[in-house]
Amino acid sequence: MQGTELVLKALQAKGVKYIFGYTGGAIMPVFDEMEKQQHFSFVMPRHEQGAAFMAQGLSRASLSTEHPQVGVCMSTSGPGAMNLVTGIADAHMDSVPIIAITGQVATGVIATDAFQESDVVGVMMPICKQTYMPLAAEEVEKTIHEAFYVATTGRFGPVVIDIPKDVQLQQTAPDYQFNPRSFRPRLPGFYYHPSPERDVLHRAIGMINRSERPVMFCGHGVIASNAGAMLQEFAEKTNIPVAFTLHGLSAMPADHPLSLGMMGMHGTIEANRAVMNADLIISFGMRFDDRVTGKLNEYARNADVIHVEIDPSELDKNVATTVAINADVYRTLHVMLSDPELVCKPRRRWLKEVEANRRTMQESMATELEKGVGQEGKLLMKSIVSRLSDLTEGRDIVVPDVGQHQMIAARFYNFQTANSWFASGGAGTMGCSLPMAIGAKLARPDERVWSISGDGGFQMNIQELGTVMQLQVDVKIMILNNGYLGMVRQWQTLFFDGRYAGTPMQSPDYELIAKAYGIPYRKVTLLDEVEEALRFAIDHQGPCILEFICDPSEIVLPMIPAGGGFGDMIVSNQAE
């Protein structure tokens, strides 16, 4: 068999249905074989970065379905592969399993600076989980199977396979054999430690039983191991409130009485105060990123820390643990839940304190939410997202971009569906939303998907409207247009004396853009048009674009300034 056939055979064996790809010289043979076979649904982005984010959307959204799929993106060598870089680095930061297959120039000319040659393996190595370059047709199938294994085992991550053109065209030796069913990758250095050890678990349970003011952290690992329901059960059984990282959101219903909402830089008062005053932190599947912890030497000073994490290199990296549990979150919760020694304390005083903080939070937002508009009667993002949340009863899939609208969506959407929130967290890549939403919709066609972008981020991958148009992917696109790179503007307001360097931004006429792509469009400037526009999007079969004209002076609060401690939390805005 030819290398190209083996590429597709391996992808098919791995259950791949969609290929997000953009052709070019060095990958043409694979595309040609794809055309012959007609087995895959081919999705063409309008930029390779779009392909990487679509692959992410597919992987992330399908993770919780009966048939998880791994997103596959494909590009040609040189510029094609380099355009994938941002999306792959983003997947690496957020532990998303995707496979990137890049064409490479033929082995005979590698390292001669051949036309469209880039050192893809060299570039990708530090920004993905693993890289491969098969050098013979016989290696292709094995490599792809191993790549899927590595991407989806332990802590997830992107894997890159760079295939020289001559290897794609090579025929295997006549005695070539490969049995995917009996194939086990030989990786002596690849550790995967899913089961928690008994003694550490017992110590953890003892600490939980003794604690008076415990708080649980729900990170991406809870989503990745489909452990949301179990986390909720554990919280209910022990009366321990749960704070979420950006990626932990939607693991549990957002309005659950024990949910504290998001913690960290733009976290809620109740979450951040609980962290500050806790005597015990039980953290599941997260990595104590600086947006979560703020100043490390002031972080949770009175708390012991139990850290459950599949990646041992995250343990004790930023925050010293009292008990480190290197294991899968699902399995750990499962064992802990059935441990007869686990005590169920009412923790009334602690929960009362949480309730009081929750009220403070609500009160601080009440006026704005009720008014719904800011300066010059322009819309507040929080009122738009709240209305969206109410109308959809929090059940839809939300894919934000990066900026103020993202933090506001995280805070004001009342998530009810498990695994329904796909954001770029670790990298914070503007432009991710539209392509990621396309991937999510393909993974979960029966659910409604909202892509929420700012005017800045939307223009970064605006070209993917072409993909929406061509495939009629039913994504409801919301542009929260405040005429600024709002999140940066917010920092300028708060920390740079209101000098708005490089943040005012003009937008094209989105109505004309929508028209050019044949996508229905509504513009919303008044508060009482919001609901109607959202209803229009809900009722309309197929993609549509809603543009909301927003108040640029809206500030996302609360906020812990970068490098600050939890004591520095800004709750109300006096600056503007």
Binding site: P188, G189, D316
Partner: protein, 161 residues
Amino acid sequence: MTAKPMKRRAILAFVQDKPGTLNKISSLVRRKMYNVDTLTVCKAKVPGVSRMTITLREDDEAKVTQVLRQVEKFTEVIRAKELERDHSYWREVAIVKFELEEKQFKKLQQRYQLEVLDRQPHDIWIVQIAGPTDRLDGFLQDLGSEHLIEIARTGVTALEK
């Protein structure tokens, strides 16, 4: 004011003998800004496996644990551990070319057990010296930099007792 020199550590890693392994380790060192002094690689007893010895300066135990975990995280790294100073031998070799009068040379040779590789006219010597790092450093100090012409050092390799 000069900072107190940090404690020297040695990490031994068994890694798969594959292209890219060394690249990954060295880029990790750069990315995480570890204070690495030496890094040596050689074949291990098992075919397809290399042993890598890394020496670095670090006082903070937690940081050393982080280095170990980050190194172990690579698929290509089979095992990594820290070598205790008292339970292992750390050695390196240097080839040194210098200019020195014979009388002084003899003194040094006796003290440091130099193996003479070559003697050239005008009091030029090429010698080999092996041993712990501080012995090599001691020799170089006694020799004096004004006499030194060129030096090649292997970096540390280590073995547990």
